[in-house]
Symmetry: C2
Subunit: 336 residues, 2 copies
């Protein structure tokens, strides 16, 4: 089994190398008949261009990187799979770039990464999506970038879900179960998602006509432990909440842990809900009511939009994907 080269295809199709190259790269100036013939030969010979030769000769690297901070979160790994889906479909390579989000030298780190590896573009994930200096530098270098769930929603290219509406709807669900004292455990302050989820909480409370008690808004940082601690604080309040909306599933899991630890029961004594629909949501007891974001699909779309922009600056945009409320067993009617 010896490798088929572009020359072989050209000979077989009775055209020049360059014509084959044009067909492969969907460049203009090839007649439809020739195009067809070349495609047929490519298919028959199972020809695949040699990636390194392509990169070396051309000005594109066919390489994009995904920049991320927390390498072991479930969420990120789902996104990664999605980005990978998009890249593989278009024969791009994906480079994983774990970054310690230390604002000090992040710009220069990314800069050398981009230059050294000749990246064609980058996918940004929270909270790196919100580093203004980095975004500015990428623009200067003319490197297309695409963001997953950036805080600034009108930022050119990327994917978002309408988080405030999702949360407001979730609060509405709790209200419809009779809850009036609904608490919120906030996410990590550096993540834009925390901001939008809090906004959705406020809006949901208002829409449901419920009083906003600042004592019911607790600090968290997206981790299990922070959800656990925040819940203990809430339960110690003189007039504790009957429902808690945690800004993500990990914190909701922590909340359930804290409630169970006190010998209370979810949802009988208190309802808990989260956000993300990570695998854990189905695997804890009781199963978690949460907002489902199509995480993998979001990664894929972020990749697709980025590749559009790479092919043609000016293409690619901000895609809004739908969320869904996953009503499971951790929420129920307010205790009589």
């Amino acid at each position: 089994m010896v490798r088929v080269r572009i020359e072989d295809v050209a000979a077989e199709a009775g055209v020049s190398m360059k014509t084959v190259s044009r067909v492969l790269n969907e460049e203009p100036n090839v007649s439809e008949r020739t195009r067809e013939r070349v495609r047929e030969v490519v298919e028959r010979l199972q020809y695949r261009p040699h990636p390194s030769a392509r990169v070396l000769a051309g000005r594109k690297s066919y390489l994009v990187a995904m920049l991320y901070d927390n390498p072991s979160s479930n969420y990120l790994m789902e996104v990664e799979q999605g980005v990978l889906d998009a890249c593989q479909a278009q024969h791009y390579n994906l480079m994983l770039a774990p970054l310690v989000y230390d604002a000090k030298d992040i710009v220069s780190k990314v800069e050398s990464l981009v230059l050294q590896s000749r990246l064609d573009g980058v996918v940004l994930t929270p909270p790196i999506t919100d580093d203004a200096a980095l975004l500015a530098r990428l623009d200067e270098l003319d490197i297309p970038w695409s963001s997953v769930s950036p805080t600034e929603r009108n930022r050119r290219i990327g994917v978002i879900v309408d988080e405030p509406s999702a949360v407001a709807e979730m609060i509405g669900h709790l209200a419809s179960l009779g809850h009036r004292r609904i608490a919120h455990i906030k996410g990590h302050p550096a993540h834009g998602a925390s901001h939008w989820r809090l906004a959705g909480y406020r809006e949901g409370m208002q829409r449901a006509g419920l009083a906003l008690d600042e004592a019911l808004i607790a600090d968290g940082e997206f981790s299990y432990d922070s959800g656990f601690a925040a819940t203990n604080g809430l339960l110690d309040l003189p007039d504790p909440p009957t429902a808690i909306f945690a800004a993500n599933d990990d914190m909701a899991a922590g909340a359930i842990g804290a409630v169970c630890e006190r010998g209370l029961s979810v949802p009988r004594d208190i309802s808990i809900c989260g956000f993300d629909d990570t695998p854990i949501a189905r695997h804890i007891y009781p199963s978690l009511t949460t907002v489902r974001q199509p995480t993998r699909e979001m990664g894929r779309l972020a990749g697709v939009e980025l590749l559009k922009a790479i092919r043609d600056r000016g293409q690619g945009g901000m895609v809004v994907v739908p969320y869904t409320l996953q009503l499971r067993r951790s929420t129920g009617p307010r205790k009589a």
Copy 2:
């Protein structure tokens, strides 16, 4: 910022391109003085070889693939990170190759992958580790391969933990808590791990001097749902177990769900333990007693051993890494 090429280094050091190349690739036939001088210039100019040029000109691809079946398991993503650690450290690229494990055409699929992408080697994960036909073909093609937790432990290159001992120790722990009727939920039959964990269960029971009741050995397939179903079966037994060892954490989570569903309590009414120490183990209530495998480290070592073999056939071997018992809250004394 223009790219430094090997020519620039050569000129600066007053030698030929080829000499620089020799130093870079640690080839012989360069005097120590020259070597030093070249290294100094490389450092000063911050020179990095262009990966594509290297691949195109040479016979190595600097590319290894990780073959896997189930793309969304926590376990696999940890392993992947580890393999990535090893690759990045040695400037190799990692290609992710999700494969539908359908024994029929897996050999030819892998074959074309290896040939088309010119892989220098592959990392295999369960259950692909155990496909004899595939292993034979890789050997024929002279492609080095490294396995993570293969069933056959004397298979040349890879990483394992001593699973039978780990499980036997866990059973010993349960026995020391007074449990005598200890059940086991088996893993997926196609995975070698299932075999070893069952063996460890039998051995542990024997060592503890406990009777082996085949009715207490239930089928599972590593999923939450299969653990849930198996547990329901066990609890319906005329003389149900007081402790359950599930072959992985997901099934243990399912077991806890099934127990809670019946209004029973873990560990008061029944003890549950798992295997793997995935993130879920700390995030469910009660937190899960389990066997910790250093998953990411295992991926890294599989990568390291593979790269040794790539550099020099005959190098690389089977590494045994230590396990640890993570005693948490899901196991306790047998109910009086």
